[in-house]
Symmetry: C2
Subunit: 550 residues, 2 copies
């Protein structure tokens, strides 16, 4: 039984069991590029060979700065299949951060979309890359502009090798397959390395009905960027089970997505709440325009989803959001909120409240909650910091050569659990609810106020588009909540109306002392409210420090 | 990410995520014993502690000779959770074989059902067991008869310890969790050891839609004995995903099973074809009597299923058999025949022909076909011997102390694949069809005739209850097929009618030269046709030898 758990096995399975399954990518002109899993596997092997020819060796990092398309998928398989390490870059990061992560990871080769060459230009001279490979837009072979600038062309490179020459090399399941950097709201991005074993197990568990529930009969369109924590593992799971894959390319505005869902009969899609907020507006603007009858699941994660959003999709458009939770450090699948046995299927209060929770850990993931070092009972009320372990949970952050400079190793407990920084409660059947981030909690008079709960209650008000709540220092209570609110278009809305709205929903001492109305809220590179920026703007420097303990 | 894959993780998950899920066991008076997963987990921990107190240590074998009931389930978890090895005994084996396997495995403790004490009596003096623990019938504490004979009582033993004292010990995922002996049709039973890793991966993959597709919303009743290759892994998968479990106890005759399916709203059941043949008769005798509307899947494996049986269940009773294939050496899940993407869902010829195949390897299982050392293409026609590998495929048979006496190590190729002894073809999307056992193939004039195909065609005749085909030596053709047929009750049936029936279905040279009509066919301990006995009966000694090359 010496069969290692590697992405090679996933690629071999896809190519032999599902060779004719389609992979479709939207071109920038809205037409479709289509090919099969067999084509993908062949080209992934060619990529392995071409990279080896460039001098990439076992364990070397190959970075990508690409949108969601079939060539990026080829890198998802072709890079790790040869024993190289796929490093997906978040091209929305600040150039300083990109320079940091590329140099720390010691990326040897960069695959970059032609349409993102401008981003590369902004830091090209500050990074040590041996080769830059330009991935042409659409189907074109685009060598023109960059040929002079010492770059290679992806298609030309693949044309120079023959898939038949590919040999399966023996890999250790514990060797690195991929890496990502977390884009926290504070500090430098921190690198997490994923082993073949970790990603393979993640891939399988994601296929379970208690995971993302993807089957051969599904058609999956990940809106979540392929640089965002392995695209939540969706491409690997789709390949394993034989689901059709659809990639949006650069066409990710709401109407384009709706067209893609309809045209390709997409059954499962996935993205952060920001995406679905936009989609909801587009659906509301023209209800019933698109035939989305095939679409049974919209996976949503990366930030908490307000219950009102679940309701809006379901009641207005008969679409089901499924709430999931994870982190860069958890590869990312941690918990998911499917309805459990015996829970109400009819859409009542309890039903939505249950589904708005972050949900139950997926198989092989274990969670516990501690406060002041003591375990907290799973009674649905007691709060503490979530700790997590499992075969795809990081046990450390990546640190290059300098072993003395280990970032945030206090995030890992002595007995091997990851401290998530999330304040949660867990109910008696293991369903977790994030009450807040440890650093975003408002500590008022020795008690905790959840900024997330307040935000969700505020955003449930018809006049509120978005709302963020942060702590404001207070002489007597230590901290008090401050709400920063974006009004819905054309709505007038007063502080008093919001107070009245909150009164029946939260304890009186939770109601914010102050409200600020703004035009928009700053977001992080992955679409979460940027509370660091909000604190900089609304709370003064000296106080900021004490709130920003991560 | 140092999280080992062990059955401990499955038990912990069941106890924390699905604590209130029900486990029901039929008592011999047809009433039900009911308790929860939390109860089971608590008692499994007590079993661990009680065995340790008996002197059982890490790696020691604990044998069971039990029917399918909740206490057997406690052993499924309690034995491996403490680092001991669960050895499930097939109590239908000959006493000589039981003596061999108990002594070779060096079982230290035997848990035996009170109703099987007679079996134990037949060989008790020939085995070296340190302790015999009697598992009482139903809920009773039954110490009476055997107390004198130096045995322990299961309930008394559990009552002597407290679950709170249980401590999780660190296990290596590669250490043994369980073992089974294969009951081949020839030679001594051969032992296979399953590691924690192997069973844990099997457990997860069995939950996939491309596996046994068990979810939290299912209610599973395994008819397959719990001694038969880990009960196909079903108890472990049910515990992992939170499906309700129903055990038939000693009530396994067809009418009792139908009652259980109806009363407990069973959704998935599993067993060998012999069981379903019996069930079909009971259904035919009184169609529509039972409300089986919840039952969506009858898993069938352990022997090939004739297409006619799939049709009979579906067309006459709206019940779906799902054909799976595996071996003791594959833990056992190997392939399964779900309808694939794009295949016809309407019940036409092609639909049934596809579903009657053994099907597609489940994720992480890889197959290949060789003939005379060369790989055979996946064209749906070319035949050769099936070879298999994967994380739960054995790489050797168990050999106790004497390392020189390794049984059948020629079953494993130099590059690590298991030679299955099955002659198969594979279609272009990886669906496998067993044409025959290597040793049962009829080699006629340099060509191969599949005894299995002939048997299935014969059993599709309305007048045939069962049919087996074996090779008969022939001076000119080397071998020719001989059919041994059991007529359906009250049916007259002639050799000529069967020849006419076969004519449009097979090549003329496949049609058996001889037919024998018998009252019944001999079966092996797991319900397969015993071709060894048939050869002894219908073919003479000298010839038998050349046919029995395993």
């Amino acid at each position: 039984m010496d069969f290692p758990l590697t992405l090679q096995a996933i690629l071999r399975r896809a190519a032999t069991i599902h060779p004719q399954r389609e992979i479709a990518t939207r071109r920038s002109d809205a037409s479709w590029h289509r090919y099969t899993v067999a084509d993908m596997a062949r080209r992934a092997k060619c990529l392995s060979l071409a990279l080896a020819r460039l001098g990439v060796g076992p364990g070397d990092r190959v970075a990508t700065m690409c949108c969601n398309h079939y060539r990026h998928l080829e890198a998802y398989f072709g890079v790790p299949a040869a024993g190289f390490v796929l490093h997906t870059l978040n091209f929305r990061l600040h150039a300083d951060d990109l320079v940091h992560v590329i140099n720390e990871a010691q990326d040897k080769v960069l695959l970059v979309d032609e349409c993102l060459l401008g981003v590369l230009d902004s830091f090209r001279e500050r990074v040590r890359l041996e080769h830059v490979v330009v991935v042409g837009g659409d189907d074109s072979i685009s060598q023109a502009e960059y040929a002079a600038a010492d770059t290679l062309d992806y298609e030309t490179m693949l044309a120079g090798v023959a898939a038949e020459d590919f040999q399966w090399v023996d890999l250790d399941e514990n060797q690195a397959a991929a890496m990502c950097y977390s884009s926290g709201t504070s500090g430098r991005p921190k690198g997490v390395v994923y082993s073949h074993r970790a990603l393979t197990l993640h891939t399988i568990v994601a296929g379970l009905s208690t995971g993302f529930a993807i089957s051969e009969h599904d058609c999956v369109l990940p809106v979540v960027p392929m640089f965002h924590v392995n695209c939540w593992g969706i491409p690997y799971t789709a390949a394993l089970v034989g689901a059709k894959m659809v990639f949006p390319g650069t066409c990710i505005e709401p109407v384009s997505l709706l067209e893609a869902f309809e045209q390709e009969r997409v059954t499962i899609t996935a993205g952060v709440p920001t995406i679905w907020f936009g989609l909801l507006d587009a659906l509301d603007a023209d209800p019933g325009k698109y035939d989305l009858s095939a679409l049974h699941t919209l996976l949503v994660g990366g930030a908490a989803v307000p219950e009102s959003m679940l309701r809006a999709f379901e009641e207005r458009h008969n679409l089901r959001l499924v709430h999931a939770w994870g982190m860069t450090e958890t590869a990312p699948m941690g918990t998911i909120s499917h309805l459990r046995h015996g829970q109400p299927t009819e859409p009542n209060e309890q039903h939505y409240a249950l589904r708005a929770r972050q949900g139950t850990p997926v198989p092989l993931i274990e969670i516990r909650v501690r406060r002041d070092g003591r375990l907290i009972p799973w009674d649905g009320e007691s709060m503490g910091e979530l700790e997590i372990r499992g075969p795809w949970v990081a046990k450390e952050y990546y640190h290059a050569m300098d072993k003395t400079d280990r970032p945030n190793d206090d995030r890992f407990t002595d007995d091997g659990w990851l401290r998530t920084g999330d304040v949660v409660s867990i109910d008696p059947v293991g369903s977790m609810k994030i009450e807040d981030r440890v650093k975003d909690l408002i500590k008022s008079g020795g008690e905790w106020i959840s900024s997330v709960d307040l935000e969700n209650f505020l955003m449930a008000h018809a006049g509120v588009a978005e709302a963020a709540v942060i702590a404001k220092p207070h002489a007597k209570w230590n901290e008090r909540p401050l709400a920063i609110v974006v009004r819905r278009h054309g709505q007038s809305l007063t502080e008093d109306e919001l107070r009245e709205h909150l009164k029946p929903r939260v304890a009186s001492w939770w109601i914010p002392d102050d409200f600020e109305f703004v035009e928009s809220l700053p977001k992080t590179a992955v679409g979460k409210f940027d509370k660091k920026k909000l604190r900089e703007q609304f709370v003064h420097g000296g106080i900021l420090k004490s709130n920003n303990d991560n």
